[in-house]
Symmetry: C2
Subunit: 228 residues, 2 copies
DNA sequence: TCGAAAACGATAATCCGATTCTCACTTGTC
DNA sequence: GACAAGTGAGAATCGGATTATCGTTTTCGA
């Protein structure tokens, strides 16, 4: 009955795509509304149960109507995706600042890994207060990775390319060994960090010894390996 | 309205628990039926879309009735969990055989990691034909880890303790460095392997160079690190 | 072997949340 | 002032899990 739904939409960000569904004159209103949805969803995702939220909750909290929601987003999934892209960009920007102070490529790599690790931790001290990788994101990230690899790949790109060039720089400085495939290594490292929280669940060990920073521990494993 | 649902059930396996819901005399029938459900679900999970399957499909394929299904399982979730526990046990047993041929602790560790890696790969050559870690399991595994850490932990135990003692043995042989927390390291390694498939999605790199075994590559990273 | 209790099969009903549809009301435009 | 697109409120639909109902069959002790 409804033959629309372009499904094209190439290298454009989701939020832009959602906005573009509405013509130009009304752009301002549209931006505002889309942002209202995004904000509401973000709050819901961070606060409360942190778990799943319903579309109803989003529209209630945003003061918009269900109608508009489906006007701007193809569905809940697109909303989540937009949120996720936003967060990745934000985290990438944050990390960019974090590593700016470091002098060597090695230090920047180190810093990147440890800081990103902390961003991905469920709930420590709410570092950047808002817009951190909330715990829920790890969960959504997983779903995204399995069900929509293409979108996932695009969403992760800012982080992936950033880490990739850090690796390349470190290799240039001979701070890490040569012969590594930086692109794939970056993927491996990002996943290792992002899903590291599961490690303790898997092993059944709940708490860390108070004297080790789990982020540094993972860095140690990544840089030195477990061999002698 | 329904005040039952014990929610107790301590260190017993799910399948046993499901069976125990029926008295002893009928045990045989019960075992048969539970197994019928499990088999049907396993087929569905491996074959077809490999994706989600519906409870309806399970009862159709198993020739049982919806009624019995909910008599033996508290819900779909418990079925999945039983399946998952089974698979972990099977994989652990398989790995146990695989490493039996190796002579040193180092070789056993190596073998374990590489073989487990292959078990977790989406769909290569269907190694053990049936009862491999189907791709869907990675997905369910994730859900399990986030939503039911306790059950997840228990389900993973066979693999976790196995790897933990391999690590301990390797440390005894001075094949890996000392001072590592074997329990937590085991968790980290298992998660790194299990979810490694995501690494390529994250990095956006689809194919491996034909001349490197991704399992060996990960082993190399784990044992040597990326440092010089 | 009889009869009550328990288990069972078939199927309808319910629930929940996402998505779609309907209709009446604005609003901006000419 | 009329028309078209945009919008809000809410009902309707849909998929899939879970529950409930109701006869029928099986089990099992006496």
């Amino acid at each position: 009955m409804s033959p629309e739904k372009p499904a094209k939409r190439s290298a454009v960000s989701r939020r832009e795509a959602a906005v573009a569904r509405v013509l130009d004159p009304a752009r301002e209103r549209a931006e505002t509304r889309v942002q209202a949805f995004l904000d509401a969803a973000m709050e819901l995702m961070n606060s409360s149960s942190g778990q799943e939220f319903t579309v109803q909750e989003v529209i209630e909290r945003s003061g918009q109507s269900l109608r508009s929601f489906y006007q701007y987003f193809d569905g809940k999934y697109e909303l989540l995706l937009a949120l996720f892209e936003d967060s990745v960009r934000t985290v990438a920007a944050q990390l960019n600042e974090d590593i700016a102070g470091e002098t060597t490529a090695y230090d920047r790599l180190h810093r990147f890994i440890v800081e990103y690790f902390h961003q991905c931790q469920p709930a420590l001290k709410a570092r950047t207060s808002k817009r951190g990788f909330a715990p829920a994101f790890a969960s959504f990230s997983h779903q995204l990775l399995t069900e929509h690899p293409v979108e996932a790949s695009r969403a992760f790109q800012p982080l992936a390319t950033m880490l990739e060039s850090l690796l390349a720089a470190a290799a240039d400085e001979a701070a890490i060994r040569s012969g590594l495939d930086h692109a794939r290594l970056a993927g491996t490292i990002l996943q290792a960090i992002m899903f590291n929280a599961f490690a303790s669940t898997i092993s059944g060990v709940s708490a860390h010894p108070a004297d080790v920073d789990p982020g540094e521990e993972l860095w140690d494993l990544l840089i030195n390996g477990m061999g002698k």
